[in-house]
């Protein structure tokens, strides 16, 4: 189990680093493609459109 998870973790780190490197160099205005990308409702329409996304981050500010 340990060897498998260690390998998996190392592979994930490589994927994370490559995607972050690629995203960091993308032209301005291009959306990020990193599978680990984060966003919130105010900036990510694809999350806001999901039915499971219930957090209204703007509620508190109002």
């Amino acid at each position: 189990v340990e060897a498998l998870l260690f390998t998996f973790s190392s592979v994930l780190m490589v994927v994370l680093a490559y995607m972050a490197w690629h995203d960091d160099r993308r032209p301005p205005g291009t959306p990020p493609t990193n599978i680990f990308r984060t966003a919130d409702k105010a900036t990510a329409p694809e999350i806001a459109a999901k039915p499971g996304w219930k957090r209204d981050t703007t509620k508190r500010s109002r």
């Binding site: 390998t7 190392s10 994930l12 780190m13 960091d24 990510a44 957090r55 500010s61």
Partner: protein, 447 residues
């Protein structure tokens, strides 16, 4: 085989580290937290991964043409002073041995990494990248131990990790990353990644329980209390915490409850009383060397320990038996810093932690005003929980030079800076007619 796999990953990462200081810093965080040398078993065990990536990152950071984003705030200035105090303590250590050198170098590396992170984290994406890296490094340990515990039906004894420490330290480290995982779960776009994070949180909780750490249990209570306090939807958070509590109560083995019952018997617990002796000796060292302490972990040097054992009567207000041990670790971040770096070091250490707490609070308040910074408000609250867990749980552990604490400080500083840059300024009040100033006609006419 494991060595080959890791080396392949390392070879794949190196070109990125050579072209980007950000990736170098991220890999540095990963290696510093994971300590792969302790997990490898073959020829790669002796490769100084941490040193290699640190040198690469610093060289790229210094010589690259990218704009440097260096800044100083109260935490970073205090860290510089803390490093200066540590240098004086290290140079005048009571026990100038290799362990003293090793711990000093570790602390300096941690502080350098903090500054490097502050230099490269310039956007939210970069901040989240570091968070993912932290979760990947510690999450691996949490998931591994949790999975093995479940597969063996609780028969697996968790001894800790060479990179973090014993079972108590492992529990603390995992409790510190759980709030960050909760933040990432909320804001990660891909469902599969969110699902993976949720599974990892569950397995980390299993690991914390299965460490049989009493400090870990207290940390779990603190985590639950602050999670409810800091969450927006308190009813849902309370329901989640109660469900998790019921699940732990129903599934935890009897031996875990027996272990927890010994918390109330601290006065007669030999392990606890030994810690009190270590705290007393740390205090005595600090009283003898109030400004710069006795050097890094001087307490653990048997001659120093032996020299102070007869002086325990100077602090006789808490009666303690004389332990039959050659030496002992400080077993408290506060007494550890007090003994190592004196009252000056402790003052700076507490300043850093208190200011970090304050920064989280002010960042949360500031970020709430701007809808697009809601993530920063959430992250600040989660980092505050992580900090509180450290302050409480590590009060009985020697974790003052724990790498993740310094990474967390860097994340707190960067989050605050991002929010201050992006926060909406309050709109200027309309100027009333009588507040309008006439142009300086007199001055213009006189010319």
């Amino acid at each position: 085989m494991r060595d080959l796999m890791f080396l392949s990953a390392w070879v794949a990462l190196m070109p990125l580290c050579l072209t980007s200081a950000l990736i170098g810093a991220v890999v540095w965080v990963w290696v510093a937290l994971l300590q792969p040398n302790d997990l490898l078993m073959g020829f790669a065990q002796s490769v100084p991964f941490n040193k290699i990536v640190a040198i690469f990152t610093l060289v790229i950071l210094i010589f690259s043409k990218d704009r440097k984003h260096l800044f100083l705030d109260t935490i970073l200035v205090s860290l510089l002073l803390f490093a200066a105090v540590a240098t004086v303590s290290w140079a005048g250590a009571l026990a100038p041995d290799a362990y003293n050198d090793e711990l000093y170098q570790k602390l300096v590396k941690d502080i350098v990494l903090t500054f490097v992170l502050c230099g490269v984290i310039t956007t939210r994406q970069r901040l989240d990248l570091v968070l993912f890296t932290v979760v990947l490094a510690f999450g691996f340990l949490g998931v591994k131990e949790g999975l093995i515990s479940l597969l063996t039906g609780g028969g697996h004894k968790i001894l800790g990790s060479p990179s973090i420490g014993d079972n108590n330290s492992l529990a603390t480290a995992l409790l510190m990353i759980i709030p960050l995982m909760v933040y990432l779960t909320r804001y990660t776009v891909l469902t599969a990644v969110r699902f993976g994070l949720r599974v990892a949180i569950g397995l980390c909780l299993v690991t914390v329980v299965m460490t049989f750490s009493r400090g870990g249990f207290l940390g779990l209570l603190v985590l639950a209390a602050f999670f409810v306090k800091n969450s927006r939807n308190k009813a849902a958070s309370l329901a989640l915490v109660v469900t998790a509590g019921v699940a732990i109560y129903a599934l935890a083995p009897d031996s875990w409850f027996q272990r927890l019952n010994t918390i109330g018997e601290a006065g007669s617990d030999g392990s606890f009383m030994d810690r009190v002796v270590a705290w007393k000796i740390s205090t005595l060292i600090a009283l003898d060397h109030p400004f710069f302490g006795g050097g890094m972990h001087a307490l653990q040097h048997p001659p120093v320990w032996g020299a102070y054992i007869p002086l325990l009567d100077r602090l006789s207000f808490i009666p303690t038996p004389v332990p039959d041990l050659p030496s002992l670790a400080a077993h408290s971040i506060y007494f550890e810093v007090l003994g190592d770096l004196g009252f000056t070091g402790l003052g700076l250490f507490l300043t850093i932690l208190i200011v970090a707490w304050r920064f989280c609070h002010t960042t949360d308040r500031l970020a709430r005003r701007t809808p697009s910074l809601a993530w920063a408000a959430d992250l600040s609250r989660m980092m505050q929980i992580s900090l509180v867990v450290y302050l409480v749980t590590a009060a009985a552990l020697s974790m003052a030079y724990f790498e993740f604490t310094y990474i967390l400080l860097a994340l707190i500083c960067c989050c605050r800076r991002l929010v201050r840059q992006g926060a909406e300024r309050p709109a200027a009040l309309p100027v009333k007619p009588w507040q309008r100033r006439e142009p300086a006609r007199y001055y213009a006419a006189s010319r």
